[in-house]
């Protein structure tokens, strides 16, 4: 029996006539890397916002670490780290100062925050740039600083929204490797949204496929391959194309 840390039940979010997320049921287990996969505008970001209590669901319920983010957003945010897409920092401050500010917002004592920040900067390979203003950081460095920022509060769960967009291949490899180490060493649960199939395939234990606000498929790559391609060891790309083709067919009918 696996521990469920994120559970979504019939989660729906409508904007006027448009339904961004439709009757979503999903559970993420403790200590796994879960990939949310789907084209742009499939409702991945909206789902993430609802998990953090940054927007309210129109109907349905989310449970994150056993808490309802619509009712108890503060406690959820204390336990969940969120790295938004294209994260920003206070550009007139250094990387270290940005991390320390996050520490203060989380009520971490100053000494402890200093130690954590230095430790994390080392982990993400930014020790040398710690005292440089973040305006001088490259895209890849910002993304890594973002990961360090998320880890400042020592979360149980981290949610990353398109964390790899715009990073070069080398930076990407480092970033994905970092995620794997984090999971192994700290037992973190990681939810990772992306539209890059290969990246998701590389690091995720299970994936959920989003198309037009609905979860089309969910499971490990092995399971998905058997379910959709009727053979083991299919590539994620094949599964994805198969599901999209299936979607098109049902739309025609």
């Amino acid at each position: 029996m696996q521990n469920t840390v994120i559970e979504l039940k019939e989660l729906t979010r409508r904007y006027g006539d448009f339904t961004a997320v439709r009757s979503l049921n999903l559970s993420v287990h403790k200590g796994e890397i879960f990939g949310l996969l789907g084209p742009n505008g499939a409702g991945k970001s909206t789902t993430i916002l609802m998990m953090l209590g940054l927007t309210e669901p129109s109907s349905g319920k989310a449970l994150v670490a056993g808490l309802d983010p619509a009712r108890n957003p503060l406690e959820v945010k204390r336990r969940v780290g969120y790295l938004p897409e294209d994260v920003g920092f206070y550009d007139n401050r250094t990387g270290l100062e940005n991390l320390l500010y996050t520490g203060r917002l989380n009520g971490i004592p100053e000494k402890e925050a200093q130690a954590r920040a230095h430790n994390l900067l080392k982990k993400v390979g930014l020790s040398d740039a710690a005292h440089k203003k973040t305006s001088t950081y490259s895209r890849g460095m910002r993304q890594r600083l973002g990961l360090a920022d998320v880890l400042m509060k020592q979360p149980e769960i981290i949610i990353l929204d398109e964390p790899t967009s715009g990073i070069d291949p080398q930076g990407l490899r480092f970033f994905l490797e970092l995620l794997r180490t984090l999971r192994k060493e700290e037992g973190l649960t990681i939810l990772f949204s992306s539209h890059h199939l290969q990246q998701v395939e590389q690091v995720c234990d299970r994936v959920g496929l989003f198309v037009q606000g609905q979860l089309r498929a969910c499971g490990s790559l092995q399971e998905l391959s058997e379910q959709w391609l009727k053979r083991p060891n299919g590539a994620l790309e094949e599964v994805y194309n198969c599901i999209l083709a299936h979607q098109l067919e049902t739309e025609k009918l």
Binding site: Y82, Y90, Y101
Partner: protein, 330 residues
């Protein structure tokens, strides 16, 4: 071994402590480090020097016999001028809105455009902390600035005149400073509201500046036109004329700038006993003289209430819009 259980805080922590204190500190530091602040400081210092010079030179141009008759000598430092430059009170009334707008116009939208707002809101803080911290930091900065200016003007005046202010003059100067801070907080809230409504910082700056321009130039013109149309062809009695005059004055009072000017006049000029028109009947039998501080304070009650009410309305509007908004990354 005994384990010590640390109780979790059950309610919101005190506003000055913890994350909220850190946010205010950061906002204030941001203001102090910015070029914008240095520019404003320079402008205010120039104002202060210019109006002091004008006030002192008007003192020295008066004949000694006039000077001897003058009451509230020290207060005049703030309200008198030789005509070459506006007085300190007029200058501050003019620059106050600019200061408030400059401190608030990019409060929320710059956070959003830099992508820091969604990162900030994913931390365990209440959403209204962001708004409160922005407002309080701007308020604290303007309060510090104005108090220092007041002290500089008073100190310089003391040196130049050699006459110490009386107790009620000190009280009136204090009241004037507090009044100005309240007035600036109105403009801070207006600017913050625009920074929530508009995504572009330039749009919100222009928006707040045009509101300021509207009230400082066009509003009074508009009322003038309206008054001319509404005025009866001929007044039947004196009471009617006074009533009409007061009606027009009340229309003017929808303008926060007018409210502030009225209140300033009452506070800085103890001889002002009414803001509206009076009939001969009402005036007859009064002896010209200065009002005590308490009476002046009573007189500006309505003006203060009006200023505070509009500040609260602006703040509440911004609060409503901000709390309901879905914050996405940039």
């Amino acid at each position: 071994m005994n384990t010590i259980k640390i109780p979790l805080p059950s309610s919101r922590p005190a506003l000055g402590a913890g994350p909220f204190g850190a946010m205010i500190q950061k906002e204030m530091a941001d203001h102090l480090r910015s070029w914008r602040f240095l520019l404003l400081l320079g402008l205010l210092v120039l104002t202060c020097l210019g109006s002091m010079y004008a006030a002192l030179s008007s003192f020295s141009s008066l004949p000694p016999s006039e000077l001897a008759k003058m009451e509230f000598f020290f207060l005049k430092l703030f309200s008198i001028s030789d005509g070459s430059l506006p007085s300190y009170a007029i200058f501050i009334g003019f620059l106050g809105p600019l200061l408030g707008i400059a401190l608030g116009f990019d409060a929320i939208n710059s956070e959003h455009n830099n992508g820091t707002l969604s990162r900030l809101l994913s931390q365990p803080i209440y959403r209204d902390y962001v708004l409160h911290a922005k407002f309080l930091a701007a308020l604290a900065i303007s309060a510090i600035l104005l108090f220092s200016l007041t002290i500089v003007v008073s100190g310089w005046g003391l040196l130049a005149l050699g006459i110490p202010p009386g107790a009620d003059e000190v009280l009136r100067i204090l009241m004037f400073t507090l009044l100005t801070i309240a007035y600036i907080s109105l403009w801070i809230n207006l600017a913050i509201l625009f920074s929530i409504v508009f995504r572009q910082t330039s749009a919100s700056a222009l928006g707040s500046l045009s509101v300021w321009l509207f009230f400082s130039v066009f509003f009074n013109m508009l009322i003038d036109v309206v008054a001319k149309h509404l005025a009866p062809k001929q007044f039947l009695s004196e009471a009617q004329a006074v009533a009409f005059q007061n009606f027009v004055l009340n229309l003017l009072r929808f303008n926060p700038i007018h409210l502030f000017n009225e209140a300033t006049n009452i506070v800085l000029m103890p001889s002002v006993r009414s803001t509206g028109a009076l009939t001969m009947e009402q005036i007859s039998g009064t002896l010209p003289g200065a009002l005590p501080v308490g009476q002046s304070l009573l007189m500006i009650g309505p003006q203060l209430t009006g200023l505070f009410a509009s500040t609260i309305v602006l703040f509440a509007l911004g609060y409503f819009l901000f709390m309901r908004r879905e914050v996405r990354s940039r």
